[in-house]
């Protein structure tokens, strides 16, 4: 109470006899925070490094659950990033976009699923594939 009183100022009696608060909030003094305003946090600033190279992709299936990717999750994919050993990538092998882990073993590259039921794909010189982008974040929605 003490604090609130101090902020609002002490009550005084006006000439009409009504109780008034002298520390005007709506009409009077500027907010003490006005000089210290900062931009409110934006999720986009946090997860999008390069807007022109960032795309959102919907995941389908649960084979990458160990990487925290569940069915219907939204992936944030940056196409400007080079994949590192272990990066999760959107890759297109035989013209179908899939989510896999980029694994380098010596000079060889493998695309590995977290689910052992899916065989790793070895990349050869003549493999028809592209790295579409690197997954940087995942958005998962819980049951509400």
């Amino acid at each position: 109470m003490e604090g609130i009183k101090a902020y609002l100022g002490s009550p005084t009696v006006s000439r009409t006899g009504e109780l008034e608060l002298s520390g005007k909030i709506e009409t009077g003094f500027p907010s003490p925070a006005a000089d210290h305003l900062e931009k409110a946090l934006s999720l986009e600033d946090l997860v999008v490094y390069r807007p022109s190279a960032t795309f959102y992709v919907r995941a389908e299936g649960n084979a990458m659950q160990r990487a925290g990717i569940h069915d219907k999750d939204i992936l944030i994919v940056d196409r400007s990033i080079h994949p590192k050993n272990g990066s999760i990538v959107i890759t297109s092998v035989n013209q179908e976009p899939v989510i896999r882990r980029f694994v380098r073993r010596g000079v060889r590259v493998f695309l590995v699923s977290d689910d052992a039921r899916h065989e790793p794909i070895a990349i050869y010189d003549d493999t028809d594939w592209i790295i579409w982008g690197v997954v940087t974040h995942v958005i998962h929605r819980y049951q509400l």
């Binding site: 390069r50 807007p51 022109s52 190279a53 795309f55 959102y56 992709v57 919907r58 995941a59 389908e60 299936g61 649960n62 084979a63 990458m64 990717i69 939204i74 992936l75 196409r79 400007s80 959107i90 297109s92 013209q95 179908e96 976009p97 899939v98 989510i99 699923s113 977290d114 689910d115 899916h118 592209i130 579409w132």
Partner: protein, 442 residues
């Protein structure tokens, strides 16, 4: 290079960056199945072919081919059809332009898929290397292939771009600055393909045996002749072909002179009420574009276009216009005028195929001369209401908040049939959460 060596003086040049088969490439960027396949993009109403992938060009799909006439051809040649997906193309275009602004200087957006930019040797010692960097960056970040032509003038940069786009040996990059064989390249370049040389000029130039870019370049010795036959703009082109830059980058384009919304009806319309609903929808869209550029318009005109082939002898385009006393961006008022103009342009028992709404006399909203007593004054209150509607529509999807005059609120089956045919539409991968690209985990 050691940091101690003196750098050669900096050279600045123009780059023309052009996306290869832009619409088809956008479709392909999100759908790898389309890679290597012939794709044809259809116009707004699935009417005719407006863009083709390289494979579709090879297969012999002509530009402008009417869909209904070529249905069998498309099937026989396994051409993949796509309705035009402008939300996707627009977003991808913005991405390309943003990347260019990051890695070059003074970008001038020339069209949805082309831009001029300034490149200089202060970043890369070699301009060809710079051009390759531009090409590779755009391809990696967006998946879109581009060609980059570099030269000391914009006209030559455009020539370079066209040469390297056609001929695979250049791998999409050609730098004409200090190029030893520039004249032999210009010798193979037809004069009518030069930027700014239209049909009329071509006919006249060919008569004087000027058939190639090199022929035209060499007319510089006779400036008087050039000025006489091609005026000052022609002389500029000749100077530019000689590497002397005369057309500079105009970074900020003029505020648009007019806004047009026009579309074919899904099926021909006869009824005035139906046509007015279509016109009201086009007015809404045009007013939205107008507000997006913070402007107001002072003239509205409506054109109704009848079936040209129904009655070849009579007129088939009917245009009515109205000049407002005070410029406005208030949709209800514009709809009111739009509907009245449609009624005046309309004749009974006519088969209409298309309507167009044009807003002209456009001025920035803050430069309006106010006549305080005019009932049509675009008030603060109206402006706030319109902005509010625009916000709703940009957040929740186009036409989520629409005016009843457009008929857009009606149930799907009661709705009038002037809405577009888009039977081959791909997803709006970058502008809708419920239409994202899907990747499987497996």
């Amino acid at each position: 290079m050691s940091f101690l060596t003196m750098k050669t003086p900096e050279t600045t040049a123009y780059a023309m960056i052009d996306c290869n088969n832009f619409y088809a490439s956008c479709e392909r960027a999100f759908d790898p199945v389309l890679i290597g396949k012939p794709i044809a993009i259809l116009s707004n109403n699935d009417g005719c072919v407006i863009a083709r992938s390289e494979e579709a060009k090879q297969a012999g799909v002509p530009m402008g081919a009417p869909e209904f006439k070529y249905r069998r051809f498309f099937k026989e040649h396994q051409i993949v059809l796509r309705s035009s997906n402008y939300p996707l193309y627009g977003d991808m275009s913005n991405r390309v332009m943003d990347i260019l602004r990051d890695i070059t200087h003074n970008v001038e957006v020339y069209s949805i898929d082309e831009a001029f930019a300034e490149v200089s040797t202060n970043i890369f010692d070699d301009l060809s290397e710079y051009a390759r960097f531009i090409k590779n960056t755009i391809f990696r970040w967006t998946g879109l292939p581009v060609s980059v032509g570099v030269a000391t003038s914009k006209t030559l940069a455009k020539v370079a771009n066209q040469i390297c786009k056609r001929n695979p040996i250049y791998d999409g990059v050609l730098n004409l600055v200090n190029h030893p064989d520039i004249d032999s390249l210009l010798k193979d370049f037809p004069v009518q393909k030069i930027w700014g040389i239209g049909n009329a000029h071509t006919v006249r130039l060919n008569r004087y045996n000027i058939n190639t870019a090199l022929d035209l370049k060499r007319t510089l010795g006779n400036k008087k002749w050039v000025r006489k036959h091609m005026a000052v703009t022609g002389l500029r082109t000749v100077l530019e072909l000689n590497g002397i830059s005369c057309i500079h980058i105009s970074e900020v384009k003029d505020a648009r002179k007019g806004i047009v919304t026009s579309r074919m009806f899904g099926k021909p319309l006869y009824d005035l009420g139906d046509i007015q609903e279509a016109v009201a929808t086009f007015v809404s869209r045009a007013a939205e574009k107008l507000r997006a550029q913070h402007s107001v318009a002072s003239v509205i005109s409506v054109t109704l276009i009848a079936d040209k082939y129904e009655n070849l002898k009579s007129r088939y385009k009917f245009n009515k216009g109205y000049a407002l006393k005070v410029p406005t961006a208030h949709t209800p008022l514009l709809i009111q005028f739009g509907k009245a103009l449609a009624a005046r342009a309309y004749t009974h028992n006519t088969k209409y195929k298309k309507a167009a709404v044009m807003l002209t006399g456009i001025v920035p909203g803050n430069e309006v001369q106010m006549d305080l007593f005019d009932p049509h004054l675009y008030t603060q209150q109206q402006s706030r209401l319109m902005n509010c509607i625009d916000h709703i529509n940009s957040r929740y999807g186009r036409n989520k908040a629409a005016f009843a005059a457009t008929g857009l609120h009606k149930e799907e089956d009661h709705r009038n049939d002037w809405t577009m045919n888009q039977n081959h539409l791909s997803k709006r991968y970058t502008t809708r959460w419920d239409e994202l690209m899907v990747a499987k985990t497996k």
